[in-house]
């Protein structure tokens, strides 16, 4: 190779080098399109044009009665036909037939009792996500409310007598003490093996807890405090919601077709149940309570165009309520079940501006979420103070013990599934017994994207892969987003109630395929 190269050869090598460089860049690019995180389903109907329908805001439920310390609600879970895509009828399973369900608003420390009547053709369990709730009211996956007048059906009645299962005929009263801070909670179905399809059909709603501390802050209020439930769906040719269930009746055989075990993704993004809606806003601040209620899809939310000054999102709260101080984000990554309470300031946009809320992890339809249209000028009464709240940061030295939970692909009843510490979920096996009052560190490791959720308690994120937490990990959380081969430590103090609870992956297809474990507070 000592020969001088001929010009043409040098040219050829240069070309090859350039091609190689492009190739490497392209391949490196291939490594990071974290856009899907699941298996996409395609709608069999023409999709509507985005930004045509107004954003619905779920109605706030009225208590049927109240006494000195409790508000009582009644919700009937039933099937109904709604118009999600313009001109198309879609059957949903809804709380009071609504998707999303009615919003429950509670005061911190005031008991809320909700009687759920089940007029659906399948058993249900209702979990208040983020609630500090006694175990018998937590919606344990095998503590089921059977359909009204249909309690003897085989399939699930066959579970009767099996250890760890319990049944309520037709209805159940869920009582929530709500001795917890103001926060954006949500309620949704949690039936063993069928949470994914049942939530997908519409069983989810907001439950907002308010308190004096949050009320006293000058944050946007009233019609400028808006919950946004973001989820993706696909539609079948007949207008129904398309889901790859093995048993479309959702009665007997759980699970989805093998290709979808990573998680089911739709091609239509709904906000509060409407496809790519529009909200007309004044040129002032708004408080948006963002919830990712998707089965599997992650979003990275951003404003397009971003505001001329300042960050797009000023985060004031997380899963478990107010942060100590606001945190600025230009983009916000949100995993299934996470909530981000953000203030968006539209004052930098001229009246008439159209600002899209986009998902930079997606392209095409799933790259869009909704649109804001600045429709009028108004004086802004709201502001975001530099101090929001105070709470005790938990320190490593307080921890009585460290527990490990490994979230992995594994074998579940002889088939491919998802496991924790190598085991499939079993309602009769206790995987951890923390003592009430103790601080513990729980260390999670993953082989894939798994948003991990603990019932009963909120936690603080202590570390990520040996380093500090992300900015978006701030505050009290009940769901933490882990990516491929991540290691995250969370720290919490177990308080409140003795009994059996679950922790699980909130990718619902993973959850239904056994990625769940028990802990019992003692």
């Amino acid at each position: 190779m000592t020969r001088a190269m001929s010009p043409s050869r040098r040219g050829f090598l240069g070309l090859l080098g350039a091609a190689g460089a492009v190739g490497v860049a392209g391949l490196a690019g291939c490594g990071f399109p974290r856009g899907t995180l699941g298996e996409p389903l395609t709608s069999e109907l023409p999709l509507p044009r985005p930004f045509r329908v107004p954003l619905p805001v779920p109605r706030v439920a009225r208590p049927v009665r109240s006494d000195g310390d409790t508000d009582y609600y009644e919700i009937t879970q039933r099937e109904s036909e709604v118009e999600i895509l313009p001109g198309v009828r879609t059957a949903v399973w809804g709380y009071d037939g609504l998707f999303p369900g009615p919003t429950i608003e509670s005061r911190s420390g005031r008991r809320t009792v909700i009687r759920h009547r089940n007029e659906l053709p399948v058993p249900v369990a209702v979990h208040l996500h983020g609630g500090h709730t006694p175990p018998e009211h937590d919606g344990y996956p095998t503590d089921l409310v059977l359909p009204v007048g249909d309690a003897a059906r085989s399939g699930y009645a066959g579970h009767a007598g099996r250890a760890g299962w319990s049944f309520h005929r037709g209805a159940k009263e869920y009582a929530y003490p709500l001795e917890q801070r103001a926060a954006t909670l949500w309620y949704h179905d949690h039936r063993m093996d069928f949470t994914g399809p049942q939530m997908y059909r519409g069983l989810a709603g907001f439950h907002i807890v308010r308190d004096d501390e949050d009320d006293a802050l000058p944050l946007p209020k009233g019609d400028k405090d808006i919950p946004l439930m973001i989820c993706d769906r696909a539609f079948a040719a007949d207008g129904s919601l398309r889901y790859p269930a093995l048993d479309p009746s959702l009665r007997d055989e759980p699970g989805v077709r093998a290709a979808y075990m990573e998680g089911v993704l739709g091609d239509v993004v709904l906000v509060n149940g409407a496809p790519w809606p529009v909200l007309e806003v004044a040129n002032t601040r708004y408080r948006f309570r963002l919830l990712n209620a998707s089965n599997a899809r992650h979003y990275q939310l951003a404003l397009d165009p971003g505001p001329p000054e300042g960050a797009s999102f000023l985060q004031v709260g997380s899963d478990g309520g107010l942060l100590p101080a606001p945190v600025e984000h230009t983009a916000l990554r949100i995993a299934p079940a996470e909530r981000y309470d953000v203030v968006v300031d539209f004052s930098g946009y001229p009246v008439g501006s159209e600002i899209n809320l986009v998902n930079t992890l997606g392209s095409g339809g799933v790259g869009r979420v909704m649109r804001f249209r600045v429709a009028r000028r108004e004086r802004d009464e709201a502001s975001v103070p530099g101090r929001l709240s105070e709470y005790e940061p938990l320190r490593r030295s307080q921890a009585a013990r460290v527990r490990e939970f490994r979230f992995r692909r594994g074998t579940v009843h002889g088939m491919k599934g998802w496991t924790i510490n190598g085991k499939a979920f079993d309602p009769t096996r206790m995987d951890a017994r923390p003592s009430l009052g103790d601080v513990e560190i729980w260390r999670f490791t993953t082989d894939f994207h798994h948003p991990i959720h603990l019932h009963l308690v909120n936690f603080q994120v202590l570390s990520r892969n040996g380093g500090g937490p992300r900015e978006s990990d701030a505050g009290w959380k009940d769901t933490v987003d882990l990516e491929v081969y991540d290691e995250v430590e969370v720290i919490t103090r177990f308080t409140g109630y003795r009994g059996r609870y679950v922790l699980h992956c909130h990718n619902l297809e993973h959850e239904d395929m056994a990625m769940m474990a028990n802990f019992e507070t003692v």
């Binding site: 001929s6 043409s8 050869r9 391949l27 490594g31 075990m261």
Partner: protein
């Protein structure tokens, strides 16, 4: 023959980041394919060493491809271990390095021998022609 092996080997190596990308973006099964291809890549590396040696002796070719092939083989062995140990911070740069060496070898085996009369192919580069074709 060495040319074919290096070509297939380089192709297999270049498929790896694509499979990893599909895994990261949500297709879990691709990580299993990634593992199978890794095994294939290592076998190809072994074969490549064999033919690089043959090119050198009895082929009277240069010695450096033997060294380069050995280096790639060792790097790939390490890469597989690092991959199964999930050390992504090492796995990605090592992968880029392996891809780089394979690209160089690929350029070398496919370089047009311009300036050499086609019929006199055994003239200025007598050693490579027999074994690489």
């Amino acid at each position: 023959m060495l040319r074919s092996i290096i070509t297939v080997h380089a192709l297999a190596v270049s498929v790896q980041p694509m499979l990893a990308g599909q895994f990261l973006s949500g297709n879990f099964d691709m990580v299993e394919v990634h593992g199978v291809v890794a095994l294939l890549v290592t076998l190809l590396a072994l074969t490549q060493i064999l033919f690089a040696v043959l090119l050198w002796r009895p082929g009277r070719g240069p010695l450096w491809p033997v060294g380069a092939s050995l280096l790639v083989f060792l790097a790939e062995g390490l890469q597989t271990g690092v991959g199964y140990a999930r050390l992504l911070s090492l796995h990605v740069p090592l992968g880029v390095a392996i891809f780089g060496i394979m690209l160089l070898l690929l350029v070398w085996v496919w370089r047009p021998r311009l300036g050499v009369p086609p019929k006199a192919g055994t003239g200025s580069t007598p050693t490579t022609s027999a074994a690489t074709r």
